[in-house]
Structure formats: structure tokens, C-alpha cells
């Protein structure tokens, strides 16, 4: 029987990013989905050859425009570990603050896009409206809405003054209030549940076997989060992973939604415990040796493999981003679903192609 074959992307209105899927359908049921990548591949890991290891911070930050600061943080932590640099405590807390603010921003962004994927336009608008407050915090603290560029090797380059932290807290209160108003919609609305519950189920075993990370993994009932390792200042903060057990799009949605509250709480706690002191130390020498550095991005575990050889250019920089790890699980979810659910399920892993392909 003839089948419908659709190119889903690279340019497609539901995915801002050039994700390309070849979809084979029968009566709108997906029979086969094969991804084609490479539309965003730049080859930026190779830039380590011509940029020194300080300049690479800016490149790493631009692996992705949504969790920019966390990339820089991961990279800096890796180099610091290689070179044996001890970062001042205040810097560690500041890193957490910016990272968690980014997480709030990223999750709100995702909640909106997710809503748009199932055609809930006003919800999309609402999420993004709330998100603008967080973007303002970014711009006010880092000087740019997206690439806050605060991380440097040895610490951070900007500090938060007390009146700034006070303002951040008051803004976050407003954000939290508004997010709370969406709880009834995103977690309990009939139409939302109808479109998400039971869609794209990934069982716990599958999730582990296929190497899922982040909310995709936690949505399948595995309480695993790199923040449990206590890097930066997480060891001093109260943190337990948010978990949902059903493994469907709804569970992943639930995890992210609740993590938004959690991230706000973490920022509050970090600000309240913010120690005084220096924000960076001077760096001497060149990195040598190899290291794996991991942090938790909004989308999950981010891993940098860094190999230095005592020169100012790194020998090898390899970035394994969360979406890269979540694509095999995604492929296992697609067959058998409806065409209309393709955007919902693809978005449910919060895909970021730009960092997947680098």
C-alpha cells in the first residue's frame, strides 16, 4: 500500500531548529522515522586548534544559546580540575546562581515550546511572557540576555551586589507566582493530559539501556542527576532530583515543571548562603592531561572530554551534550505514534540540535 512520506524539517514551523526526520506514515501513524543531522554542524570542537584555551570559553558558551553559561561552566571546571585550580567559594555559589537562573529560563522556554507543539498557543505565550523576567535578570547581571559570559577559568568575572541579589529574589518571586498559575494547566488540564499522557513511553529499563539523560531519564523513574555529585556549590545546597515514573511525555513535562520551582528555590538558597570573598583566582600555566568534566544542564548530563598537552591550544575537546544522548531514546519512541504527536514527543526530550551537532 502506498505510504505517506514526509520530510519533517529542516525548516519547519514547529521546530525552530533544523531537525530533519524522514517520516513514513500510514493513516498518520508513524511507521518509520529516520533522522538526518548535520544542518547545524559547524565543527567547533576543532576550533580548539586555532583558539587558545581561554578563548574556547566563548566558543563553548556558543555551543548553545539556551544553556550557554552551563557549557562555559562545565568547560571551566574541567580545565580548572586539570590545572588543579581551586576556585573561590563565592565563585562557586555564583556559578550555581547563574546556572539555576538559566535552568528556569530554559525550562520556561521549553514549557512554552511544548505547549506550542500541541497547539496551545496562549500557554506558549504565557510561558514566554514569564520567561522575559528571567531574561531581564540575565541581561542585568551578565550584560547579555543569552550569553551571560560570566565564567572564566578560575572563577567568574562578574559579581552580584546585594541590591542586585535582592532584586533577583523579588523578580523570581514574581516568576514563581506566575508559574504556579500554570500548574493547573500544564499538569492537570484535560486537553494537555490528553495530548501528553501515555505518549512516547520510555520505560526505566529502556531509558537506562539507551542512555537517556536528564529529565528524559528522570521522567522514566531514575533519580539520577549530576548535581548529586555536588560540583560547584551543589554539595552545600539541599538538592534531591525530581522524578516521575511513567516515562511518557507527560512525566517529562512534570519533571521539568517541578524543576522550575526547584531551580528557583536553589537560587534562593544559594543567595542566602552566598559567602563573601574573591570571585576568581589568577591562572598560571597551561592545561595538561585528560579529564572528563560533567555538569547537569536543563536537558541533562553534559560531558566535556578535555585533553591538554601543555600548550595553549588543547589537544582535543569533545562535547557530549544531553540531546546527543537522548536521540536514541527518541528514535525508539517515534514508531507507532500519530503524526500529530511527533512534535510533542520530539519536544518532550527537549532537543537541541545545535549542541548535538556542534
Amino acid at each position: 500500500m502506498a505510504r505517506t512520506i514526509i520530510p519533517f524539517g529542516p525548516q519547519h514551523p514547529v521546530f525552530p531548529e533544523p531537525l530533519h526526520l524522514k517520516l513514513v506514515l500510514e493513516d498518520e501513524i508513524v511507521k518509520e522515522a529516520v533522522p538526518a543531522l548535520g544542518y547545524v554542524h559547524r565543527g567547533l570542537e576543532m576550533l580548539a586548534d586555532i583558539r587558545d584555551y581561554h578563548q574556547m570559553i566563548q566558543i563553548c558558551e556558543r555551543v548553545c544559546g539556551i544553556c550557554s553559561t552551563i557549557h562555559a561552566q562545565c568547560y571551566c571546571q574541567g580545565i580548572e580540575e586539570l590545572m588543579g585550580i581551586e576556585v573561590p567559594a563565592r565563585a562557586k555559589f555564583l556559578r550555581v546562581i547563574w546556572a539555576e537562573i538559566h535552568r528556569v529560563q530554559s525550562h520556561l522556554l521549553w514549557l512554552g515550546l511544548f505547549a506550542d507543539a500541541f497547539g496551545f498557543e496562549s500557554l506558549f505565550m504565557q510561558c514566554w511572557k514569564i520567561r522575559e523576567r528571567v531574561m531581564d535578570i540575565n541581561e542585568a547581571t551578565g550584560g547579555n540576555r543569552v550569553n551571560v559570559s560570566v565564567n572564566i577559568i578560575g572563577g567568574v568575572k562578574r559579581d552580584l551586589a546585594p541590591d542586585m541579589t535582592r532584586w533577583i529574589l523579588s523578580e523570581l518571586d514574581l516568576v514563581e507566582q506566575e508559574v504556579k498559575r500554570l500548574e493547573k494547566v500544564l499538569l492537570h488540564d484535560y486537553t494537555v493530559k490528553k495530548r501528553t499522557v501515555g505518549k512516547g513511553v520510555l520505560t526505566k529499563d529502556q531509558a537506562l539501556e539507551l542512555g537517556a539523560v536528564g529529565p528524559t531519564l528522570r521522567g522514566s523513574g531514575v533519580a539520577q542527576d549530576i548535581r548529586q555529585l555536588g560540583y560547584a556549590a551543589y554539595g552545600d545546597l539541599s538538592y534531591t532530583p525530581v522524578v516521575a515514573k511513567d516515562g511518557d511525555a507527560y512525566s517529562r513535562n512534570r519533571v521539568r515543571f517541578l524543576e522550575t520551582y526547584q531551580a528557583i528555590a536553589l537560587v534562593r538558597e544559594a543567595i542566602s548562603k552566598l559567602p563573601p570573598g574573591e570571585i576568581s583566582v589568577k591562572v598560571k600555566g597551561k592545561p595538561e592531561g585528560e579529564i572528563v568534566s560533567r555538569v547537569e544542564q536543563p536537558r541533562g548530563e553534559l560531558m566535556y572530554y578535555i585533553k591538554g598537552n601543555g600548550k595553549k591550544n588543547l589537544d582535543r575537546l569533545r562535547i557530549r551534550t544531553p540531546t546527543f544522548a537522548n536521540i536514541p531514546p527518541l528514535l525508539s519512541m517515534l514508531p507507532g505514534i500519530e503524526l500529530a504527536d511527533v512534535p510533542v514527543i520530539v519536544l518532550s526530550i527537549d532537543p537541541c540540535i545545535s549542541c548535538t551537532e556542534r
Binding site: 500500500m1 502506498a2 505510504r3 505517506t4 529542516p10 519547519h12 530533519h20 524522514k22 493513516d27 529516520v34
Partner: protein, 633 residues
């Protein structure tokens, strides 16, 4: 004059059939068929001009007519019995033997042949039927001449089976003419049985295993109809003492005494018209060459079924039977439309559409108001033209592209633009205003509006119908991007019937007011509509036929003009998310491989899957039938 016309219309085809069978030279056979087609068409027109009549022709060769009939019946039934034995089909044997016994006893010992009454009576309904049978049927026969040559060539038969094929093709037309003109129900019965045998022979034409199986199925189901017919005759004679159809109708249901024969007659009609649960024989008939299907579906055979129901409609007006028939017909309409949705086989879609439309006609007969009867009669006319046209188109397309699957008709416009347009017109005349089928449907729906249940069934059914037609129409027009449209070559004997039929389908729709006021209105108990300036009007509603035609026609001309002008516009391939390759209908897929896009229409197997639905619908249909007969007993 009348005698000659009747002779030509009824016996002419039989003689032509005999000639076809005997003279085994292709060209002569073609000539005979052509000549007979012309003759039939001319005779039907002449008969039509003469108008309604009651007439008893002189007996043939001095032998009383009823003897001819008896012999004819016996020959027929014994032939059927022979095939029953040949194919070892028990049910057929039982049914045929039952008929032989009943019929012979009835004719020899019960019927008083000395009573005289006009043997042939024609009112407008009969005349319309004769016209349809003779003209549409003849066109199909003409189309069959080149078609069968190609068909046999393709199938690679050693020995041509065309003589037999054409013989039965024309015989059916004669039988149908006889059926609709007869006033003696024994005559009716005989002609009824001729069509049964004829269809059996035509369906089994290919002699493949499946063809034989389907033919036998058609045979026993129609024998069941025949058996019901005989029982009805006997009952009717017992209560009324006559076999005069006019008298039986006038007698009405007589407080229920006459209801049993009427119900049985309806049953015979329903089985013959392949209403659920008998649809399988008509679907099976698809294995025969397309002209057979066209003939069985449009102007003959199944139309015999609805003809009987309509003919006897006044007899059961206002009874439970009538109510039941209305619901049953509407149910069939819905069921057939639903099942058509899951089909991709073009002929099967047409078959289900036929069943559905016949259901609608039965529903009209059941509703039994003047509006409903008007709707039913008009539907017979318009349906015949459009359906014959569509079948012939599918046949022609199948011979060109090698498939009757509508999925494979994508891009047809590029390969066979003329046929594609003709088929498109056929589809549009089946479903959209201002064309006749829709006009009749409108009448039917308005007439049904008091019958809630019927109404709901019709409303849902007609939407389903729109669905399967619309997508087919769309597919016919799809052409690969930037393709060169090259008109196909067609022989004159292929093109002529198509053109006449499409012309008929369109022009007759325009003449609907004339048809109504001159043909239909006179036979109604009360006029259902007032027609002025092409506007059908009655207190229930109004159909502004001519104004709608005028505006849509103007729009059509503008649209054509604009489409022509748009040829100069820049063209661009379909949107493929920006990934299209040099070939604009391929996109660059994974591994840099070009992937040709393709589309499939939705068959909703999970909702409208044929097999699942068939089971349920057969159960429902059977229940309705039981109710229909049981209620009448």
C-alpha cells in the same frame, strides 16, 4: 407500431444475442452490437414519445403467451439448476428446485390464464426506465466492443469468449426492458430470472476460480430473490386472484393481507439490489470485465430491484413495512458509504457507492411521500448516467495504467487528461450541486426530515460519501510537478460513450425541472414541488437550481480563465521543508539520499475497516430484513 417497438425493445436484444452467439466473426458481431444499440436507443425514444400505454401484443406464432413464458421459465431454471450441479452448490440447487416446483404448480394448476388484462403497461416510470436501460445500456455495449478486444488480448485467452459475453450483455438489456414494461407479474418474474442468469454468465466470464466463486454467489443470492418473488406471486394470487400488477398496487395492503407479498417483493428487490447483507454478490461481480459492472450497476440488474420497490410503493404506503424500508434503506446508505471510505480499489468504491445510492432509493420508496418518490425516480436517472460513466472511466484507466486502485491514479491528469477530466466530472455530478444526484439527495433529505432516525443515518452517510468522492477527485487531478500533459489517444468507440454519458450527466441535471414536471409529476399522487424558473419550491424548502447553476457556471468560467492565465506564472515545486533536491518532488533524506515524497489517502482501517464493519453491518442488515418480513407477516 407499438407492437414493433415492444418487439425491438424486448425481443430485439434476444435476437441480437442469438446472432452474436452464432456468428463468430468479430466485425459482424461488432456491427450487430452497434446496430442493436442504435435500434434500442431509437426505439426507446420513440416509445417515450408515444407516452404511457396499456397494451397486449398478439401472441407469438399463435401460441398463447403464457406457454412461452412457462417454457422460457423452465429453460431458465433448468439452466440454473445445471450450473448449480456443475458447481456443486447445494443452496442454489435447493432454491432452484423450489422455484421450479412452485412455478410449475402455480402456472399449471393455479393461475387462470383466461383472465385478460393488459400484458404490458407503461407509465412514466417504466418509460424512464426503458430510456435509461436502452440508452445507457447501449452505450456500455458500444464501449465494450473495443474494450473486450483489449481485455482478451491482455488476458491471453486462447479462444475468444466474446460471443457469449456480448450475447448475455445484450440479453440483460432486453430482459430489463421486459421487466419494466410488464404488467403481468409472472412476466416480471421471468425477466427477473433472465437477469439473474445473465449476470451469472457475465460474472463467470473470466472463468478464474474467484470469478466462478463470485458468480455462484451472485446466482444463489439472486435465486433467493427469485424464490421470494415466486412466493410473493403465489400469495398475491391467493389473496387477490390476479397477477395484474396494476390491480395489486391499487388493492394496496388491504389491512395487511397483501402486505406479505409486498414485503416479499421488496425482499426480492433488496436482494437483487445487493442491499446489506446481500452486498457481497455485487462486490464479487467486480471480477468481471468493466462493461459488465457498468451495466449491472448503472442501468440494469440492481435497478430492477429498486424498480420493483418503487413500482409497488403505493401498495404499501403508510404501513410498518414502509417505515421499515425507509430505515433499512437509510441504514444501507450509511453502511455502504462507511465501507467505501476504507477502500482504495476504484471499482469497489463505485460498488459501495451504488449500494449506498440504491439504499437511498429504497429509503425514498419507504418514506413514500410524493417528494420522496420524486427523489427516488430522479436518483435512478442521474445515478445511471454518472455511475455508468465512472465505471467506463475506471475501465479505460485500468487498461492504460494497469490498475484500478485509486492510489495509482495519482498523476493521471498528466497521462490521460481527457479521461481524468471526464471521470472528475462524473464524480462531481455524483456529489455536488447543482447536479442531479445531489438535487435528488436534497429532496430525499427534506422528505426524510420527519423520520428522525432515517435523517441521522442520511446525514452521516452523505458526509461519508462526500469524503470518499472528494479525495478521489483530488487524486485524479494531481499531476507530478512540472509534468508535460499529453492528451491520450482513444478510439472513437471508447470516447463516444464517455462523451455521451458525461454530456448526459451534465445536461440532464440542467434539465431536471423539465424531467420533473413532464415525467415525474404526472405519476405522483400529488405534485411535490412547484417549479418556476428552475426553482424547485414547496413549503418545506426550495432548491434554486438555475440561479445556482448560473452563478457556479460563471465562477467555473472565470476559474478556467484564471487557471489558463496562471500557466504563465512562475511555478515552484511543492514545499518540502526546504530539503528538496533537483527533482522537486524528492527531498534529501538521511545519508544524503534523495527520497521521493509520496502521499497516501486515509482508509481508516481501524474505524471503517471493511471486514470488521461487514460483520456488524450484515448482522444489522439481517435484523432489519427479519423485521421487515416479520412485521409484514
Amino acid at each position: 407500431m407499438l407492437n414493433t417497438l415492444l418487439f425491438v425493445l424486448i425481443l430485439g436484444p434476444f435476437i441480437a444475442a442469438a446472432l452474436c452467439f452464432v456468428v463468430r466473426i468479430r466485425h459482424i458481431r461488432s456491427f450487430i452490437v452497434l446496430a442493436m444499440a442504435c435500434l434500442l436507443a431509437a426505439a426507446s425514444l420513440l416509445l417515450f414519445v408515444k407516452g404511457p400505454f396499456s397494451h397486449t401484443p398478439p401472441s407469438l406464432l399463435g401460441i398463447p403467451t403464457h406457454w412461452w413464458i412457462l417454457w422460457g421459465d423452465d429453460i431458465l431454471l433448468f439452466t440454473m439448476l445445471y450450473y448449480g450441479f456443475k458447481h456443486r452448490h447445494l443452496l442454489t440447487k435447493i432454491l432452484v428446485i423450489f422455484q421450479i416446483v412452485c412455478l410449475d404448480y402455480f402456472e399449471l394448476f393455479m393461475v387462470d390464464h383466461s383472465k385478460t388484462f393488459p400484458l404490458f403497461v407503461a407509465d412514466n416510470l417504466s418509460l424512464i426506465m426503458v430510456l435509461i436501460i436502452s440508452i445507457v445500456g447501449s452505450l456500455i455495449c458500444v464501449f465494450a466492443i473495443p474494450y473486450m478486444d483489449k481485455h482478451e488480448e491482455k488476458e491471453g485467452f486462447q479462444k475468444s469468449r466474446q460471443p457469449k459475453f456480448f450475447a448475455f450483455l445484450v440479453v440483460i438489456m432486453g430482459a430489463m426492458n421486459g421487466l419494466v414494461l410488464s404488467n403481468n407479474i409472472i412476466f416480471m418474474y421471468m425477466f427477473f430470472e433472465v437477469t439473474t442468469l445473465g449476470s451469472f454468465m457475465l460474472i463467470s466470464y473470466d472463468r478464474s476460480e474467484i470469478a466462478l466463486r463470485n458468480a455462484v454467489r451472485a446466482l444463489w443470492m439472486n435465486c433467493l430473490a427469485g424464490a421470494a418473488f415466486i412466493v410473493a406471486m403465489v400469495c398475491a394470487y391467493v389473496t387477490q386472484g390476479t397477477v395484474d400488477a396494476q390491480k395489486l398496487i391499487q388493492a394496496g395492503h388491504m389491512g395487511g393481507i397483501m402486505l406479505t407479498p409486498l414485503a416479499l417483493l421488496c425482499f426480492a428487490g433488496l436482494a437483487k439490489a445487493a442491499q446489506i447483507p446481500f452486498q457481497s454478490w455485487l462486490l464479487g461481480a467486480m471480477v468481471a470485465p468493466t462493461p459488465t459492472s457498468a451495466l449491472l450497476h448503472s442501468s440494469t440488474m440492481v435497478k430492477a430491484g429498486v424498480y420493483i420497490a418503487l413500482r409497488f410503493a403505493p401498495g404499501y404506503a403508510g404501513t410498518f413495512l414502509s417505515q421499515c424500508l425507509a430505515v433499512y434503506g437509510a441504514f444501507t446508505f450509511l453502511a455502504a458509504s462507511a465501507m467505501a471510505v476504507s477502500q482504495s480499489n476504484g471499482k469497489k468504491i463505485l460498488a459501495y457507492s451504488t449500494i449506498g445510492n440504491l439504499g437511498l432509493i429504497f429509503a425514498c420508496a419507504g418514506i413514500n411521500t410524493p417528494e420522496a418518490i420524486t427523489a427516488g425516480i430522479l436518483l435512478i436517472i442521474f445515478h445511471a448516467f454518472s455511475k455508468a460513466l465512472l465505471f467506463l472511466c475506471v475501465g479505460d484507466i485500468e487498461q492504460h495504467i494497469g490498475s484500478r486502485d485509486i492510489e495509482f491514479m495519482r498523476g493521471l491528469y498528466a497521462k490521460m487528461p481527457r479521461t481524468a477530466i471526464v471521470a472528475l466530472l462524473g464524480i462531481i455530478t455524483m456529489m455536488l450541486p447543482p447536479f442531479g444526484v445531489l438535487l435528488s439527495k436534497w429532496m430525499a433529505i427534506e422528505a426524510a426530515s420527519k423520520h428522525l432516525f432515517v435523517m441521522v443515518l442520511l446525514a452521516v452517510g452523505s458526509s461519508l460519501m462526500v469524503m470518499y468522492w472528494a479525495r478521489w477527485a483530488g487524486i485524479l487531478l494531481s499531476a507530478p510537478y512540472g509534468s508535460q500533459v499529453t492528451p491520450e489517444r482513444q478510439g472513437v468507440l471508447t470516447r463516444l460513450p464517455l462523451l455521451v454519458l458525461v454530456g448526459g450527466a451534465v445536461v440532464l441535471s440542467l434539465c431536471a425541472p423539465l424531467l420533473y414536471s413532464n415525467l415525474v409529476a404526472p405519476i405522483l399522487s400529488a405534485p411535490s414541488f412547484s417549479v418556476r424558473a428552475g426553482i424547485f419550491d414547496n413549503p418545506t424548502g426550495a432548491f434554486l437550481l438555475y440561479p445556482v447553476i448560473l452563478v457556479l457556471g460563471l465562477g467555473f468560467i472565470c476559474a478556467l480563465y484564471a487557471a489558463r492565465k496562471a500557466r504563465k506564472a512562475r511555478t515552484s515545486g511543492p514545499y518540502l521543508s526546504g530539503a528538496q533536491t533537483k527533482d522537486p518532488e524528492c527531498f534529501e533524506g538521511p545519508m544524503r539520499k534523495p527520497v521521493a515524497v509520496s502521499s497516501q489517502i486515509y482508509y481508516f482501517e481501524s474505524i471503517f475497516g471493511e471486514q470488521r464493519l461487514t460483520v456488524w453491518f450484515n448482522i444489522f442488515g439481517g435484523m432489519f430484513l427479519a423485521l421487515l418480513i416479520g412485521g409484514a407477516l
